[in-house]
């Protein structure tokens, strides 16, 4: 009889805890700073929240009704991996009409489960271990962790309030190395509300070209601009083939919970992303695809009304913060104001925590969004005018008391 030890060529690793089963890449990811703050807010009552990163509008009824009808008529199957052809066609038409970028629905558009999936697919498709991924910050919280999962190296590029949080060519140039591969752009920006104009993009496009970078442009807030119309990075001369344009229905059409996004780009890049997409999620949910189609076909006017409402609130909030004595650059896009709280002498986290505990207003401390976020507070104005007015009153009182305490 053979003894057990003799059957085993080597001693198995002794795992001390469940965590030892986890991949080192996953273990290396820090939990989101927003999550910690969420737990804190959830313990309290009568909080006015400026911490929400989604529209306060419910999805327009005609869009919801389209999904109900899809269910009633038995639309419960898989769709083509890339998404229903008529939806891809409508997305192509819409992008051409609104942002003057042309994509062939047959092989340049991929419907995804939210813009988030599109970002994940793009990063997984492009990154080899050791590649450097350039990320202007402060920015949406998912880019760095997903980059890290692929073995890529996230490289933050700090942006500043004095530049209205625009990406400056000299800052981009400064971080370029032979390993630089991908640039992730998110304008209009969550959390700063910063935007980029055609002139702002020109020198960036030049650097991208000179260094042969590929760009993931997260334009989920494209519809929400208040000064000049959004300029897609993909619409810049020579940039279409080296850009994956990521967008979706969440912000423009108030459809966050439907998880409807899309990616557009060069057929070879989209084909690579489609490969991962078909093996991981197969396709986006069919009833949500029908709702998205309805939004594109009949929802543009409603969208304009929502944008106008955000604009009105934006003015109210910026003026409010300035009257309170907090520096606040004028955000030109998205639905966030990003005032500076440096004058109070508190860190972002201290300010946010005390604001919650002493004035019952929730907002997200800027430091969770990476470089350049410390000293700021992300305040979403996607809430009613009544709520905003009350929140500003409370913040004003809180800042006043802070200053009296010296």
């Amino acid at each position: 009889m053979i003894k057990d030890e003799e059957k085993q060529p080597s001693t198995p690793v002794q795992r001390q805890s469940m965590a030892d089963y986890l991949s080192p890449l996953v273990r290396g990811i820090k939990p989101s700073g927003i999550r910690r703050f969420f737990d804190l807010v959830s313990t309290r009552k009568d909080v006015i929240t400026l911490g929400v990163g989604e529209p306060d509008f419910v999805t327009p009824w005609h869009v919801r009704e389209a999904a109900v009808y899809a269910l009633e008529t038995g639309k419960t199957q898989y769709t083509s991996n890339a998404g229903m052809p008529e939806l891809r066609g409508a997305i192509g038409q819409y992008l051409n009409d609104q942002f003057a970028v042309e994509y062939n629905p047959a092989d340049e558009i991929l419907v995804t489960v939210g813009g988030s999936e599109a970002i994940d697919l793009a990063l997984r498709s492009f990154i080899s271990p050791g590649d450097e991924i350039l990320i202007p910050e402060p920015c949406y919280i998912s880019y760095s962790p997903i980059t890290a999962l692929t073995g890529g190296v996230p490289v933050g590029i700090e942006t500043f309030a004095k530049d209205e949080f625009k990406l400056k060519p000299e800052s981009l140039q400064a971080v370029i190395t032979p390993n630089s591969k991908v640039l992730i752009l998110c304008y209009p920006s969550n959390p700063t509300g910063g935007t980029m104009t055609y002139e702002d993009w020109l020198p960036i496009a030049k650097i991208v070209e000179e260094n042969d970078l590929i760009v993931i442009s997260d334009e989920i807030y494209a519809e929400l601009t208040y000064g000049s119309k959004h300029v897609s990075f993909a619409a810049m001369p020579g940039m279409k083939d080296r850009t994956i344009l990521v967008s979706g229905f969440s912000k423009a059409f108030a459809m966050t919970g439907w998880r409807m996004g899309y990616a557009c780009g060069h057929p070879e890049l989209i084909a690579a992303m489609l490969k991962i997409h078909q093996y991981t999620v197969m396709c986006a949910p069919i009833m949500a695809q029908y709702a998205a189609l309805e939004a594109l076909q009949h929802g543009l006017e409603e969208k304009d009304r929502m944008v106008e409402a955000y604009n009105q609130r934006r003015r109210l909030v910026v003026k409010g913060f300035r009257e309170i004595g907090l520096d606040c650059h004028e955000p030109q896009g998205a639905f966030y104001a990003f005032p500076s709280i440096v004058s109070t002498g508190l860190t972002s986290e201290q300010f946010a925590q005390r604001l919650l505990e002493e004035a019952n207003v929730a907002a997200v401390p800027g430091d969770v969004f990476g470089l350049g976020g410390e000293g700021h507070l992300r305040c979403s104005y996607a809430t009613s005018v009544t709520n905003l007015t009350e929140a500003l009153d409370r913040i004003g009182g809180f800042v006043h008391r802070l200053k009296q305490q010296g």
Binding site: S32, I34, F37, F38, V41, S42, V47, T49, G51, V52, G53, E54, D56, V58, Y140, I141, S142, N190, Q312, R313, R315, L316, K319, A362, V364, V385, T386, T389
Partner: protein, 163 residues
Amino acid sequence: MTELQLKVLELLKEDARRDAELIATMLAVPTEEVKQAIAALENDHIIVKYATVVNWSKIDDQKVTALIEVQITPERGRGFEGIAERIYLYPEVKSVYLMSGAYDLLVEVEGKNLKEVASFVSNKLSPIDAVLSTKTFFILKKYKQDGIIFEEHEGDHRLMVSP
């Protein structure tokens, strides 16, 4: 009607308590201009009144409202105007519309109870010479009025904090 007046109207329609300063901030125009726009709208009776939308069913179960279809003979030279006025001057009449189609006036009447409305129809409305016929429909429940939903079920279900 200027573009500013139209925007002011839209904001006041949502909430009549908004003051000129708040509206001016929301529209990025000087407060003085908003004040002038409101004054002009009031002057021209475009803004007729700042009233409150009340859900009476919450406090008074007896109160009833009826919609009455009224057929009338128009008067030579005055059309429907004179008869309409004779009807809308009654305080129990809440609204009167001239309609196209099978009848002429749609009259909304409110009363303390069913009997009061019935008595209005038989003693005041029907006896008017020009009135040919009436059809009374009692309202059982109001769900929505002037774009305002009375019992809103779609609250804010968002997470308090999200990225």
